[in-house]
C-alpha cells in the first residue's frame, strides 16, 4: 500500500496536485470547460501513478468497472435535461461519497492487505481506524445529502439542528470505532452519517440548490481526503482537501453563515 518516496510516484502526485489547483484557478476565472478538462487530466495522472505503483491483480475486472462506470456517467450526463443537471450534480456527489464508503469498508474487511495491523498488538492502527471511520461517515453524509437534494421539500431549521447534533454524535462514534472496530459501531456510524447529511443539506436547501450541492460536495471531498490518509496516497489527500475546503467554505458563504454578502442567488438555475 505504501508507495514510499519513489521519485516517479512523487512527480506524478505533484503533477496531479498541480493540475487540480490549475483547474480550480481556471474555473474561478470563468473557464469552466478548460478547467474541467484539466481536472480530468489530473485524475487520469493519479490513476496512471496508481497503476504504476501497485501490483495489480484484477486488471480485467478493473478495466470493466472503469468502462462500465464511464458509460453510466456519460448516459446520465448526456441524457438528463439541462434544467435538471444541477440536481444530478448532487447524484454524482452521492456516488463519490458511496465510493469512499465502500473503500473504507473494504479496508476494514481486509486490513492485512493494506498493512493496517499493528505488529505489537495485532489490532488495527489507531490512525487508520480513525481515517476509516471518517471516510465512511463523510461518505454516508454525502449520500444522505444527495438523496435530500433529489427530494427537495419540507422545512429547514429542524433538520438543520438535527443534522448538527447527529454530526457531533457521528464524531463520537468515530472515536468509539477507533477503540473497538466492530461492525455494529461501523453500521451505526454510517446510519448516523446518512441522517446527518440529510439534515445538513436540507438546511442548506433553504438558500437554494447551489448551496446544498456545495455542502454535499464538501462532505464527499472530506470523505476522499480520509481515504487518502487511509491508503497513504498523497494525490487523494490533496484532491479531497481541495474539494472539501472549497465546497464547504463556498456552501457556508452561499448560506450566509460566513462572510454575509447576499450570495444566496446561486440557485438560479434550479
Amino acid at each position: 500500500m505504501t508507495e514510499g518516496f519513489n521519485p516517479a510516484i512523487l512527480f506524478g502526485w505533484a503533477l496531479a496536485a498541480l493540475l487540480f489547483g490549475l483547474s480550480l484557478w481556471l474555473a474561478a476565472g470563468g473557464q469552466l470547460r478548460r478547467g474541467a478538462h484539466i481536472g480530468f487530466a489530473g485524475v487520469a495522472v493519479l490513476g496512471a501513478v496508481t497503476l504504476y505503483s501497485h501490483d495489480v491483480m484484477a486488471m480485467p475486472q478493473m478495466c470493466a468497472a472503469l468502462l462500465a462506470g464511464g458509460a453510466l456517467g456519460l448516459l446520465i450526463g448526456r441524457g438528463v435535461p439541462k434544467a435538471a443537471l444541477p440536481a444530478w450534480l448532487g447524484v454524482f456527489a452521492g456516488q463519490a461519497g458511496l465510493a469512499a464508503l465502500l473503500v473504507a469498508l473494504a479496508a476494514w474487511r481486509n486490513p492485512h492487505a493494506f498493512r493496517l495491523l499493528d505488529d505489537a498488538t495485532d489490532g488495527m492502527v489507531q490512525g487508520a481506524v480513525a481515517a476509516m471511520g471518517l471516510g465512511a461517515g463523510f461518505g454516508a453524509m454525502a449520500c444522505g445529502g444527495a438523496m435530500t437534494i433529489l427530494r427537495r421539500e419540507g422545512t429547514w431549521i429542524g433538520p438543520l439542528l438535527f443534522g448538527c447534533g447527529l454530526a457531533m454524535l457521528a464524531g463520537g462514534m468515530v472515536r468509539a470505532f477507533a477503540h473497538d472496530p466492530q461492525l455494529g459501531v461501523m453500521g451505526g456510524g454510517i446510519g448516523v452519517g446518512l441522517i446527518a447529511g440529510h439534515g445538513l443539506v436540507k438546511g442548506a436547501l433553504r438558500a437554494g440548490v447551489g448551496p446544498a450541492l456545495a455542502a454535499a460536495g464538501g462532505m464527499a471531498g472530506w470523505a476522499v481526503a480520509a481515504c487518502g490518509f487511509l491508503l497513504e496516497n498523497m494525490g487523494l489527500a490533496v484532491a479531497g482537501g481541495l474539494a472539501g475546503a472549497t465546497a464547504s467554505l463556498f456552501a457556508l458563504r452561499l448560506c450566509g453563515w460566513v462572510g454575509r454578502k447576499g450570495l444566496a442567488d446561486a440557485g438560479r438555475h434550479a
Binding site: L32, A71, K82, G221, V224
Partner: protein
C-alpha cells in the same frame, strides 16, 4: 509519510479555502461542477483497493467503488461541459 501527507493536505485545504473565499456567486455552478470532478478522484482509491485486496469481498467492494467513481468522473465532466454552454 504521514507528516508528508498532512503537510500536502493542509496546503491543499489552504488553497481550497482561498478559492472558496474568492469565488463569486455567478461562478457558483462552475466551482461546484469543477469540485465535483476533483473529488471523483476517489476512483483512484477504488483502484488501489481492487488492486491490493486479499479477499473476494474486499475486491468486489473496490470494484464497485471504481464503477461509482468512474460514473461520477465521466458524468461530472459531461455535466460541466453542458453547464458551460450558454
Amino acid at each position: 509519510m504521514t507528516l508528508f501527507l498532512l503537510i500536502s493536505f493542509l496546503a491543499a485545504c489552504a488553497m481550497g479555502l482561498i478559492a472558496g473565499w474568492r469565488a463569486r456567486p455567478d461562478e457558483g455552478w462552475a466551482l461546484v461542477a469543477l469540485v465535483q470532478i476533483i473529488y471523483a478522484a476517489i476512483v483512484v482509491g477504488g483502484l488501489i483497493v481492487a488492486a491490493e485486496a486479499g479477499s473476494a469481498l474486499a475486491r468486489n467492494l473496490g470494484l464497485l467503488a471504481v464503477l461509482l467513481g468512474s460514473a461520477a468522473l465521466c458524468g461530472g465532466l459531461v455535466a460541466a461541459r453542458r453547464l458551460d454552454r450558454p
